[in-house]
């Protein structure tokens, strides 16, 4: 693995208090619901790292967009894999995020986070480094 994070510009350091515990009943209920229903690793990651979207390779605005989409999609399980709510992002970035989600969820070979960072810097998913390995013995 020779991907070097230092080659790329840093992600935004803006921090949004996203998904933080709140005493407001409506917000608390929303967060509990989202945590119970998240199946996309990226939304789950954001939920698990409140206020720290960079931990998931996202800027604050991207995390907000992602979670807004996840919240809207939550009532319909079939929509959980639909990233149409990210339409304002450029296609290359949507692809980076989709691939990162698949990489994490499906246990791809390689360092998914390093590949996400590389993808964001080079606008190209490094499929030489992060890709699904064939299942064995199934």
């Amino acid at each position: 693995m020779k991907i070097l994070d230092g080659r790329f510009g840093p992600l935004s350091v803006a921090v949004l208090a996203l998904g933080c515990a709140s005493s407001h009943p409506a917000v608390a209920e929303r967060d509990q619901y989202a945590q119970a229903t998240c199946t996309d690793s990226l939304t789950c990651c954001v939920q698990r790292n409140p206020g720290n979207p960079e931990a998931c390779g996202l800027t604050a605005s991207e995390a907000a967009t992602l979670m807004a989409g996840a919240k809207a999609a939550a009532p319909d399980e079939a929509e959980e894999w639909n990233d149409a709510h990210n339409t304002q992002l450029p296609e290359w970035k949507r692809r980076c995020i989709r691939n990162y989600g698949d990489c994490k969820e499906d246990g791809w070979k390689g360092d998914c986070y390093a590949c996400l960072r590389y993808c964001e810097g080079q606008l190209e998913w490094p499929a030489d480094q992060c890709f699904p390995a064939k299942k064995k013995g199934k």
Partner: protein, 125 residues
Amino acid sequence: MPDELDWAPIRDLARRVRNGERLTLTDDVRELLERTASEVGMSKADAASALASTASAEALVLELARRIKEGSDRLMDALHRAKRFRLAGDFDSARQELREVLAVEVVPHYREIAEGQLEDLAKEP
């Protein structure tokens, strides 16, 4: 083909060529281009021919990078669509996504990934 691929150097080289930097055909660059050509399904003869001049070598760099990027985009998009079909229980459509990749893909690494996923799906109804 080595067990561990690393296409970052060829992507970097392609970026420099696109930015107008003149390619210098050192031994290391020749070795990189020859190795990468074999990794993306290009014949040794075509690669050797392209290394005859700086201009054709620069075109070779861009072609190698194009195969790597376009294949990655095509495969990754197909894998994601196949996953969605698989989760919905539509295994035929999932398999079709992978077959469409195999119909056009020339990069052995990408073909191996698609073939592996297709084999996994063969166990499904």
